[in-house]
């Protein structure tokens, strides 16, 4: 790749803002892209972004200006980013209209040879007024202010050879739209980001889903955080319906999953679509991958309890991505050694489901970090969610391990006062992971489920939904123990007996 540094406009979707910087950094790292962050004025201050802006409000802005070493870099970036709508080669930018037009005319003159290839091409100019609605007529008027553009090709609104975009940015506050735009930008469309993939992988059309399937956008963000690339070996130790593996396989990963839930992996758990009474025969993680043309990269799912060792020493994964159970919509559990009193109620030919005990989040994270320190390749990443009650959050809550460096920490607020963070860890280049120290500051008594149920102020709907979830948990647990539920009363009793009291 030859270097010809150019500025690009990155236009992001205004969603999951806290994930933008982390995703940007991950993709840059994944491809080893050379880039520079510009900071010559207001808009571009948001470019400081990349390392500094976490405390400023600029990170909220949907437009960044980034300098890439060449156009291939910009295209590569767009080939992975799910936060990105589009990327444009920057031709003009200013914070007031007058100087914008002067600058644009100037750069057309001085960079004549760069404009040359596009002059004869058919084209289209898109007008975007961010945070301000304008009529079609006004849009045309804006285009007319650009009459000095040297384009000689035909206007082609359907399939133009080049697409240009004129952007006026009116801030982010819909209640205080300024009369003049804060920023004006003009650029040539280079590539679109991966927003379409979010639709393509939508859970609405997914073959096999469950109560805790991860939505397509967040799954894709996780896979980018994990730097998953062609030919990587990827594990989800709490795989459920495999929504994370779908995204991983979409980006070339070969995927393995494990889960404690026999009924789930065999597609025999209760369907979670209201419209569906029974699951179809082939509702499996594998069918999900096949649905998106990634069947070749499905390796296996295994029924196993993460709290017990399973994998051979020396097995190395390129990435581990997971959404562990929080104990709310599914139970956190592990097989426990204890003598059960119920043995006699079971007949011999009934499948045996071991009794399980509560698997605390604390212990689960300790196990997860320890496991990752052992089974990730050097430079490989663990990407996982940590739920918490917002009042409780301190940075000490984040589990630490001496072999793993925390490289990403993005918040997604959930309902009420609960929230979760997507944590990204990278395995350090050290020889002795065994000497690793694990510090996990969640106090022993910290119990997210407890906090969630007992301390979060809830709305009526939340309460109703929670109750429904609890009933469902009770039902599933009963089913798992081989019980046949006859009526609602019994379900209720099961609920009362269950540990969510």
């Amino acid at each position: 790749m030859t270097n010809s540094w150019k500025k690009y406009i990155l236009w992001f979707a205004q969603e999951h803002l806290d994930f933008r910087v982390a995703e940007f950094n991950s993709i840059i790292k994944l491809f080893g892209l050379k880039h520079r962050k510009l900071n010559d004025n207001t808009l571009v201050r948001s470019l400081n972004i990349i390392y500094k802006f976490l405390i400023s409000f600029d990170k909220q802005k949907p437009f960044w200006i980034v300098e890439f070493a060449n156009e291939e870099s910009a295209i590569k970036f767009a080939s992975r980013s799910v936060s990105l709508r589009s990327i444009y080669e920057l031709w003009g930018h200013s914070n007031n209209l007058k100087s914008f037009h002067e600058k644009l005319q100037d750069s057309i003159k001085t960079k004549e040879n760069l404009m040359d290839p596009y002059i004869q091409k058919s084209f289209k100019i898109v007008v975007e007024t961010y945070n301000k609605h304008i009529s079609q007529k006004e849009k045309v008027e804006k285009i007319e202010t650009l009459e000095y553009l040297p384009f000689q090709g035909e206007v082609d609104l359907k399939t133009p050879q080049t697409e240009w975009c004129y952007i006026e940015f009116y801030g982010l506050d819909p209640t205080a739209v300024p009369s003049e735009p804060d920023d004006i930008l003009f650029g040539r469309l280079v590539a679109n980001g991966q927003r379409d993939l979010i639709k393509e992988l939508s859970l609405k059309k997914r073959k096999f889903i469950g109560n805790t399937s991860m939505d397509a956008q967040l799954s894709l963000l996780m896979v980018n955080q994990a730097l998953v690339n062609n030919g990587d070996l990827v594990l989800d130790p709490f795989v459920g319906t495999g929504s994370l593996l779908v995204s991983a396989a979409k980006f070339g990963g070969y995927v393995l999953g494990a889960d404690i839930d026999f009924m789930m992996l065999h597609g025999r758990s209760r369907p979670s679509r209201i419209t569906q009474k029974v699951r179809e025969r082939d509702e499996r993680v594998r069918a999900n991958l096949e649905q998106y043309g990634c069947g070749d990269r499905y390796i296996d799912v295994i029924i196993s309890d993460f709290s017990n060792p399973l994998w051979r020493q020396g097995v190395e994964f390129d990435a581990i991505i997971t959404d562990p159970p929080y104990g709310i919509r599914e139970s956190t559990e592990k097989v426990e050694s204890k003598t059960t009193s119920k043995q006699n109620t079971r007949s011999k030919d009934m499948p045996h489901y071991p009794s399980t005990s509560h698997y605390s989040l604390q212990q689960l994270y300790v196990d997860l970090l320890q496991f990752s320190a052992h089974h990730l390749k050097v430079g490989g990443r663990l990407v996982c969610w940590l739920p918490y009650h917002r009042d409780d959050y301190t940075s000490e809550m984040i589990p630490q391990h001496s072999s793993l460096v925390l490289v990403g920490n993005s918040e997604q607020p959930l309902s009420g006062l609960t929230s979760r963070r997507l944590l990204t860890y990278e395995k350090r280049d050290i020889n002795a992971p065994d000497s690793a120290q694990l510090s996990y500051q969640l106090s022993n008594s910290y119990d997210f489920r407890d906090r969630y149920f007992n301390n979060a102020p809830e709305s009526r709907t939340e309460r109703r939904m929670r109750k429904a979830e609890q009933r469902e948990i009770g039902r599933i647990e009963a089913l798992k123990r081989g019980k046949v539920i006859i009526d609602n009363k019994e379900a209720k009793n099961n609920l009362n007996k269950s540990r969510f009291q």
Partner: protein, 124 residues
């Protein structure tokens, strides 16, 4: 269950079991799922696999003639072998069968292609 997965699994979870590898594999019913040959993936997979486990898998699958006793040094240039490994490790799918712990004899069933490695409460 693919035979690459077979190479990853142990019965270490059982109380008192130290290594739990290789498990004793029995195949009752298998399928062959053709999949795209990706030499880079196989090359990257090989160092993570245990060669004796690969040999055992080949034996059970009746493919021992395909797999040499030792991993040749120049395997990356040996496309023929990479293809055979691809077939053995990724295309053979054990639908019904079992995995047996080499130390305790505990049997883990494979049903409908999915191994069940769960233990009972008195085994962990």
């Amino acid at each position: 269950m693919r035979l690459s997965t077979y190479n990853f699994l142990t019965s270490k979870a059982i109380k008192g079991v130290k290594v739990g590898f290789p498990l004793k594999l029995t195949i009752a019913k298998q399928d062959v799922v053709e999949s795209e040959f990706n030499p880079t993936f196989i090359e990257r997979l090989l160092p993570r696999l245990d060669w004796s486990g690969i040999r055992l898998a080949a034996e059970v699958a009746g493919l021992n003639d395909d797999i040499p006793a030792e991993l040749p040094a120049n395997v990356a240039e040996n496309e023929e072998l990479l293809k055979k490994l691809h077939h053995l490790l990724l295309e053979i799918d054990v639908l019904e069968g079992q995995l047996e712990c080499p130390e305790t004899g505990r049997v883990f069933p494979i049903t409908d292609g999915i191994p069940n490695m769960l233990l009972n409460e008195d085994e962990v």
